[in-house]
């Protein structure tokens, strides 16, 4: 039981981060039908922004401000940096190609991804940086759940992710802008004809998706420690898988898919072998797509014939 609980916590932590990242893929796909392959790099820049604040404020060993304030500022910086990059991507890499062939923005996305990776390599070098979170929040602190104790940083990651996902759901379903996002997602041309500023809605979507990725980047830095210029690639791939498994374009699907991938990784490692972790995650993707080609929460697309 202890082992199962521990793996559940492990999977929940990882899945929470994947879910935040998957939301960005899903939201952008929902309105633009575009796979934003640079999303992983947006997340990576968020992680570096958080690291930068940590460094400016004295580092984990000698913080100049209270820890809670430092962590808050790290999240703020990550949100600002990631959303700025996300909006810039939309403006310069995707918008000019919006009315071109479907493959063009896809290639632009891949190019943007490499560009951001190379920019990070030049800016931050290839060395790994460590948040050294155990110095910020001691490993001994935590909440006991049955026979195990969950480190406070993990608790923070899980709770923050849950709160952000709830807020996003409320925003999409209860606000005027959220309604506009749904309308654009449903039919961009019709939404424009109804007076919705489509460009503005797309920018807001990129902004929110990228901000969530930035938060995810800081969370990963805090809970897992290492940030480096290629960290966005694998995480992005997993989050993309999560979005597809959940049903790309579906916000609840992205959340569920993220958690599913997180649990799949943890249980595979725990009960089968770490060697087969990725094999099983991607096999899961194949199985889900075979059974439900539009993902678990994806809806059938109605096509006028």
């Amino acid at each position: 039981m202890e082992f199962f609980l521990q793996q559940t916590v492990n999977g929940l932590t990882l899945g929470s981060v994947y879910a935040l990242l998957a939301l960005g893929y899903s939201m952008v796909y929902g309105i633009l039908k575009l796979l934003n392959f640079a999303h992983g790099e947006v997340y990576m820049f968020g992680a570096f922004a958080g690291y930068g604040v940590l460094t400016v404020l004295g580092g984990s060993s000698a913080p100049l401000v209270p820890i809670w304030l430092m962590i808050l500022l790290m999240f703020v910086a990550a949100v600002v940096v990631s959303s700025t990059i996300g909006v810039a991507l939309e403006r310069f890499a995707y918008r000019p190609l919006r009315n071109s062939t479907r493959i063009a923005p896809l290639i632009s996305a891949v190019g943007a991804s490499f560009f951001l990776q190379a920019a990070a390599l030049l800016l931050f070098t290839a060395n790994s940086r460590s948040y050294d979170a155990p110095n910020l929040i001691a490993i001994q602190t935590g909440i006991p759940i049955g026979p195990i104790r969950v480190w406070m940083v993990r608790v923070m990651v899980i709770v923050t992710s849950a709160v952000l996902m709830i807020l996003l759901t409320l925003w999409v379903n209860r606000t005027r802008t959220g309604k506009a996002v749904r309308a654009v997602s449903f039919d961009r041309e019709a939404a424009a004809m109804m007076g919705i500023d489509v460009d503005k809605v797309i920018v807001i979507t990129f902004l929110i998706g990228s901000a969530l990725a930035g938060v995810g980047g800081v969370m990963v830095g805090l809970v897992f420690g290492r940030v480096f210029h290629l960290m966005g690639f694998v995480a992005g791939l997993k989050a993309f898988t999560a979005a597809v498994v959940g049903g790309i374009g579906s916000i609840p699907g992205a959340m569920f898919g993220g958690l599913l991938i997180g649990f799949a990784e943890a249980y595979t490692t725990g009960y089968i072998s770490s060697t087969f972790q990725n094999l099983i995650v991607f096999a899961l993707l194949v199985v889900v797509l075979l059974v439900r080609p539009r993902g678990l929460f994806g809806r059938e697309e109605l096509v006028k014939v």
Partner: protein, 417 residues
């Protein structure tokens, strides 16, 4: 008129400062940067001493009178560098390239040679390595190259060198797979092989009374090769070995950490990314796992600081070797950071340049065949690695040796085996 808020500007300024700090700061670099300034002035003199001590020890070392000849006939050649300057293990390639440039500068000054470098970024990709090998062979001025870094890439490049020009020498500073040097005529290496490190590691654990070892490889050829040799030696010693595997890109090991049996005596991590080892150690602490971690030479880095853990190294701490410490200080005066993959590059460059130098001293223009013959004759009594360098007929290091250190509370390492 409405007064515009200053908050957005302040936030942007703060964020810009944060990114600059992320770029400039770094726990990896901080210590090195502090130390280098004071020792920089002493470095050139010290490096001169270190290299001149090494030169007479070579079998073909000339009498001082030949230096005059050197002054009259410039010893000019080009040497290559094949390494992962970008890509997934750019942290290795960057440091290797920096050491390459540093070594060429130091040795050119020392020996009055005019050796230039052609850089080749293989991105740790075998196809790129093969392409670079073909390009290098095609470069008539190039006499030899340093690299490639990993054994898979050595295989890819080695096949091309062997096919196009077996006289072309390549001295790898970090390929450790057993038996690979025997496959290629022109291959030499300045690091011991897995056949040296694996048994050394296993013997130490057995001597410490290990009955069960949890071993995790990082799916690189370096790691799996080392994992195999260590497992074989441990099992031969009656130790139960549980093997697992994770990608180098992984940063969450918590699920894997949960599977470490409570009665394991050691967790052995033959990894190239030391920062990952530290994360693994943190996650072990988080789950109350207290068994001792043993890292391979790839973990011998400032990034891995878990007190009480053990790391293997192919040299005693070079900061503690008289000539090498000065070389290290000279390097750190020019470059921010180093790691365990750097000093063997200096040794590889030294091997090639001194071989070229010896050819020049005979009055010949160095070419690939003559340089290869001289590399094979290398007999350095001492090196930056603190040990002699000469090669077996296969091109392996003749006296490869590994050392084992324990990490102390103050971050220093104590030699324990």
């Amino acid at each position: 008129m409405k007064k515009r808020s200053q908050w957005p500007k302040m936030v942007m300024l703060f964020v810009a400062m944060a990114l600059v700090a992320a770029a400039c700061g770094g726990d990896d670099d901080a210590g090195a940067g502090d130390d280098t300034t004071t020792t920089a002035a002493a470095a050139p003199a010290a490096t001169t001493t270190a290299t001149t001590e090494a030169a007479p020890a070579t079998t073909m070392a000339p009498e001082p009178t030949t230096t005059t000849e050197m002054e009259m006939i410039p010893c000019v050649a080009t040497i290559g560098f094949i390494g992962p300057i970008t890509g997934p293990v750019a942290f290795i390639g960057e440091v290797q390239l920096n050491w390459m440039q540093y070594a060429v500068d130091v040795l050119n000054e020392e020996l009055s040679t005019e050796i230039s470098i052609v850089e080749g970024d293989n991105q740790f990709d075998t196809a790129q390595s093969a392409t670079l090998a073909a390009q290098f062979v095609d470069n008539a001025d190039m006499v030899a190259t340093v690299g490639p870094a990993g054994s898979d890439n050595v295989d890819a490049a080695g096949a091309v060198f062997e096919d196009l020009d077996p006289d072309f020498s390549f001295v790898s500073p970090s390929s450790t797979r057993e038996g690979i040097a025997a496959t290629y005529t022109g291959m030499f290496r300045t690091v011991p092989t897995d056949a040296d490190q694996g048994p050394t590691t296993a013997d130490f654990m057995i001597a410490e009374g290990a009955a069960k070892v949890f071993l995790v490889d990082d799916q690189s050829s370096y790691s799996t090769g080392l994992s195999d040799s260590t497992t074989a030696a441990l099992e031969a010693g009656g130790v139960e070995v549980i093997t697992e595997s994770v990608s180098q890109d992984t940063t969450d090991f918590s699920a894997l950490v949960s599977t470490i049996p409570d009665d394991a005596d050691f967790v052995y991590l033959p990894w190239q990314v030391a920062a990952n080892g530290q994360i693994f150690a943190n996650q072990m602490a988080e789950q109350g796992k207290t068994m001792r971690i043993f890292g391979s030479d790839g973990m011998d880095s400032e990034d891995f600081t878990t007190v009480g853990s053990l790391v293997a190294a192919f040299a005693p701490d070079i900061a503690g070797i008289a000539g090498s410490a000065d070389l290290l200080a000279g390097f750190l005066a020019e470059y921010d950071d180093t790691n365990t993959f750097g000093p063997p590059v200096f040794a590889a460059v030294q091997v090639i340049i001194e071989a070229t130098y010896r050819v020049c001293l005979t009055g010949q223009t160095p070419d690939r065949a003559s340089v290869q013959a001289e590399i094979a004759n290398t007999d350095l009594a001492d090196s930056i690695l603190g040990s002699p360098i000469s090669f077996t007929s296969d091109g392996d290091l003749a006296e490869g040796q590994f050392f084992i250190f324990e990490i102390q509370e103050d971050g220093t390492k104590t030699l324990v085996g």
